[in-house]
């Protein structure tokens, strides 16, 4: 079976730190920083960027879910973003939550969205300017599309993928989380009752897709990494982690850098599965 590829390519979804530095005054783009560490933005950010907090602004704060459509429209409009704006996302931890934001913007059909390759780390390592002032811009009107659920897996689909091998599951957590030795990354809260992984899932930690400077590895290296584990794009793929942000990163790699067409992010991830009563768990 031929490998299915999406029309978008690496050039469409990544911009370099050099490119960003040259486009700081570009009115057609809006820079947005999204960090794991929600205080990092206030300490210094790329000039002209706005900051979004993943834990309050990019989610439904009442129930566990992604950002509701109306809230997204409000957030983007208040950030000076309309439907024609190209959003350039970047953040710490090699763009973990920037990828989370990217995924959600794609759920709601935003066309122009890219990641700054290397994220906050590379910008700082290169000694580029940081500011602490928050940019002001006139609010705009943003109209989101209906959600595209083809890039999101909910629990029933993850269960089907595991039980019927209807899709390839990729667990992007660390090997110690995958085996159940750890319930959460060292230093982070444990959010599950059981350790291990979804039966049938392959373990390809998200960070293997990155170079030391935070940039993504070459397409050739990425193809070798995932293809070597049997994740070739010939079958549907579902990525998961602990709460869905690391798997957004892998989802981005598979869908946009490797061009696999049928890739979903299971954002319920291990925090959901590892708390389910009677759910099958595999170790190691």
């Amino acid at each position: 079976m031929a490998v299915q590829t999406a029309p978008q390519t690496k050039q469409d979804v990544l911009v370099s730190t050099d490119w960003v530095a040259q486009h700081l005054q570009d009115q057609a783009i809006r820079l947005v920083e999204v960090d794991v560490d929600t205080k990092a933005y206030a300490e210094g950010h790329v000039p002209g960027s706005v900051g979004w907090a993943w834990d309050t602004q990019l989610c439904d704060t009442l129930r566990r879910d992604i950002i509701p459509k109306a809230k997204l429209e409000q957030l983007l409009g208040a950030s000076g973003i309309d439907n024609a704006t190209t959003v350039i996302l970047y953040g710490d931890n090699n763009n973990w939550f920037a990828a989370w934001a990217f995924w959600q913007l794609k759920v709601y059909g935003h066309e122009g969205v890219r990641l700054m390759n290397g994220g906050r780390k590379k910008w700082i390592a290169e000694g580029r300017e940081l500011v602490t002032d928050v940019p002001t811009s006139p609010p705009k009107t943003y109209k989101a599309k209906d959600p595209d659920w083809s890039i999101r897996a909910l629990l029933p689909e993850a269960m089907s993928a595991s039980a019927k091998r209807a899709a390839q599951l990729v667990d992007v957590r660390s090997p110690q989380e995958y085996t159940g030795e750890l319930l959460a990354p060292p230093g982070l809260p444990e959010t599950c009752q059981r350790g291990g992984h979804i039966p049938g899932a392959k373990n390809i930690p998200w960070g293997k897709a990155c170079n030391d400077d935070g940039t993504f590895k070459s397409v050739e290296d990425l193809r070798a990494l995932y293809g070597g584990a049997g994740i070739t794009g010939e079958q549907p793929v579902i990525a998961y982690c602990r709460i869905g942000e690391r798997s957004s990163h892998t989802w981005f790699v598979l869908k946009y850098l490797l061009g696999y067409t049928n890739v979903k992010n299971y954002d319920g991830s291990w925090t959901e599965w590892g708390n389910l009563v009677a759910a099958p768990v595999e170790k190691p």
Partner: protein, 84 residues
């Protein structure tokens, strides 16, 4: 507007866990961040007027945090809902 300077990154171990220590100076303040390398989640950060001050604070906090990490028994095979 300021430019980060003296960016330095190194890897070491704290409480048996691999960590990555990043320090840079922004204006007159040194910023240190320590993450847990794999998966690279932010763990602690600190600021100081010298590099040593910032790193010493961050290392102390990271050490205390990582000493509390619990490890489960190594898995012994493929089982379902085994309990701990």
């Amino acid at each position: 507007m300021a430019k980060p300077e003296e960016y330095a990154e190194r890897k070491t171990e704290l409480a048996g866990w691999p960590v990555t220590i990043v320090t840079y100076r922004l204006g007159s303040t040194y910023h240190t961040t320590i993450d847990n390398t794999d998966p690279g989640a932010w763990v602690v950060k600190a600021q100081g007027t010298t590099k040593a001050e910032a790193e010493t604070k961050a290392l102390k906090d990271a050490q205390a945090l990582l000493e509390k990490v619990k490890k489960n028994k190594p898995p012994t095979g493929c089982t379902s809902v085994p309990g701990f």
